[in-house]
Amino acid sequence: MTATATAAPHSAQRTPIASGDAAPAASRRRRRTPGALWVLLVPFLVMFAAFFIAPIVFAIVDSLFTQRSSGLGLGAPTREFVGLDNYVGALTSASFVASLGRLLAFAGIEVPLMVVTALGLALLLGAAAARFPRIFRVTYFMPYGVPGVIASLLWGFLYIPATSPVLQALGALGVDGVNPLSSDAALFAIANIALWGFAGYNMLILIAALDAIPAELYEAARLDGAGEWRLIWHIKLPLIRPSIVLITLFTIIGTLQLFVEPLVLRPLTTAISSDYTPNLAAYNQAFAQGNPNLAAAMAVIVALLAFGFSALFLRIVNRKGNRAW
């Protein structure tokens, strides 16, 4: 978001209509432009309001109400304002709190794993010694096109001994009893699926940033006797820092969406419950338990977490001297 920050001071020169002088032509232009602006901007704004703002507002309002069925369950249930009761209900439910904790643990595994892997791959492909970087790059990127559902189905087969060549090979080597879907390992098994799907995409973002570094910088550093490691540490990493921040932020937001992988893996293991993650819990409340109000409160809590984590992360990053965003 640096771009917006830097764009703002120049906006006066950059916007043609704002730069017009008092000449008649300019004022005619000024009268004409709002029409075009409306045509360009309003369709998006209408759609954004309908499919982003409205659901969020709806969820917030809905989370403050509850459905009460009348005495004998006859007649239509009535809608009652209950304030923050649904939030209290969600946050005092042991299973929902546990799912929040699980989500935090998952983020703790997934975010560093993803950033380090993507960075490692990008630096390896950028190393002078790397052969066929183009082929490797496409190979790493390919899983991005495989939907999370299908990735989870595939890894599901690779996680059970009956079909997994990896576990079969380990078994042949005498290593038995490895169960990626045990309750201790399940979070890692899920993190692996997400890593497999998105590491290549994040790697591409970092490669693009690495490519933007002028070659002269390397030349100069090499003349000064710097080796590969020092090039990485003193030139590459500081210069691609904004991109690292970007992929970290995307990964944080991505981890909070955790839903599909546990949903697909659930039939394969008892380690994954129907409210394994907050999103699964909300989905369950809305469609299986018939409590959309509680589900709305849970959804709002996840959204607040997303904003909170993003803000916290950007704050930590920006405190250390050079602003990234």
Partner: protein
């Protein structure tokens, strides 16, 4: 044309690889030979990791249900039956799978096309016009990038339910037509690649604002437009929660939802496992072909353009 617009982003392969001075000592040469082995060894290991599930599913799709469980996962069985599996896949449930492919293509293609038009127009408007509360509106839209999709989908179901849209194609298509990230990308690239002088000159020649946008600016923004389209296409293609929440008629399912429908029936009838495996293989092949052939249009540097400010 693509490269002339954003010169900073051309050398995707170059890696700014600088050639060191010729006077390298033999010690250094030996060390670099060792590091070359290490680097390429790691690259191969990573490639094996990324290819493993894909290789597994392509091989598994040639096996009979029995062989799937009784033969080594990464090698073919003695009695391959790829053709039989494919025929089963495309005839099961009255050809449901082909319908799901068509649905996925429609959702992704139409959704991404409209999303691209809307967000590129809006991004251009943000870049080139001044209007009240512009930055506040823009930051609100950017906030949309931070909201997890799962948080939108549930309330959206109840909202669309009140207007009777749930269960229709529209319930999946309409929400997919909004791409806040696309607006963000389009704004940055309108700023970077459409000079104000060009707009001024076109105005002096008597062109209207919409004509300038449609005829001139969009051409200069082509790489960004392609990126927004591809990004949204893959996002919709990979989407699961939204169709899961909205649709109940398997005739309108995309591939992802269809395959999980079959997957949920494997307990009842193990034959469905082969269908799921073969269906996954086909959809992986479809997408891998798409990704690899579009790779040269897929400009991650534009996705990352944000950070070049």
């Amino acid at each position: 044309m693509v490269t002339s617009i954003a010169p900073a982003a051309t050398s995707v392969d170059g890696h700014g690889r600088a050639h060191g001075p010729d006077r390298e000592t033999s010690r250094r040469a030996r060390r670099s030979a060792a590091s070359s082995v290490a680097v390429n060894g790691l690259l191969v290991l990573a490639a094996i990791y990324f290819l493993l599930p894909i290789a597994w599913v392509l091989i598994a799709a040639t096996k009979s249900p029995g062989d799937l469980y009784s033969t080594f996962g990464l090698w073919f069985s003695d009695s391959p039956q790829a053709w039989e599996n494919l025929v089963d896949l495309f005839t099961q449930d009255g050809g449901a799978f082909s319908l799901w492919i068509v649905n996925s293509v429609v959702y992704s293609g139409v959704g991404a096309a409209v999303a691209t038009v809307l967000s590129v127009a809006a991004g251009y408007a943000f870049a080139k016009y001044d209007f009240p509360a512009k930055e506040a509106v823009f930051w609100t839209i950017l906030g949309g990038v931070l909201v997890p999709a799962t948080v939108i989908a549930l309330p959206l179901y109840f909202l669309l339910n009140t207007v009777g849209l749930t269960g229709t194609y529209w319930s999946v298509l309409l929400p997919c037509m909004v791409s806040p990230f696309g607006v963000y990308l389009a704004r940055i690239h309108a700023n970077a690649s459409v000079p104000d002088e060009v707009i001024e000159a076109a105005r002096i020649d008597g062109a209207g604002d919409l004509r300038i946008f449609g005829g001139i600016a969009t051409r200069m923004m082509t790489p960004a437009i392609v990126t927004v389209f591809l990004f949204q296409f893959v996002t919709i293609w990979n989407n699961y929660l939204l169709p899961l929440v909205m649709l109940n008629d398997p005739k309108r399912f995309p591939i992802t939802l269809g395959l999980t429908l079959w997957n949920s029936q494997t307990q009842r009838d193990p034959a469905f496992t082969t269908l799921v495996v073969t269906g996954s293989a086909v959809s992986v092949v479809l997408l891998v072909v798409l990704m690899v052939s579009l790779q040269r249009f897929w400009r991650a540097d534009l996705t990352a353009g944000a950070t070049k400010g």
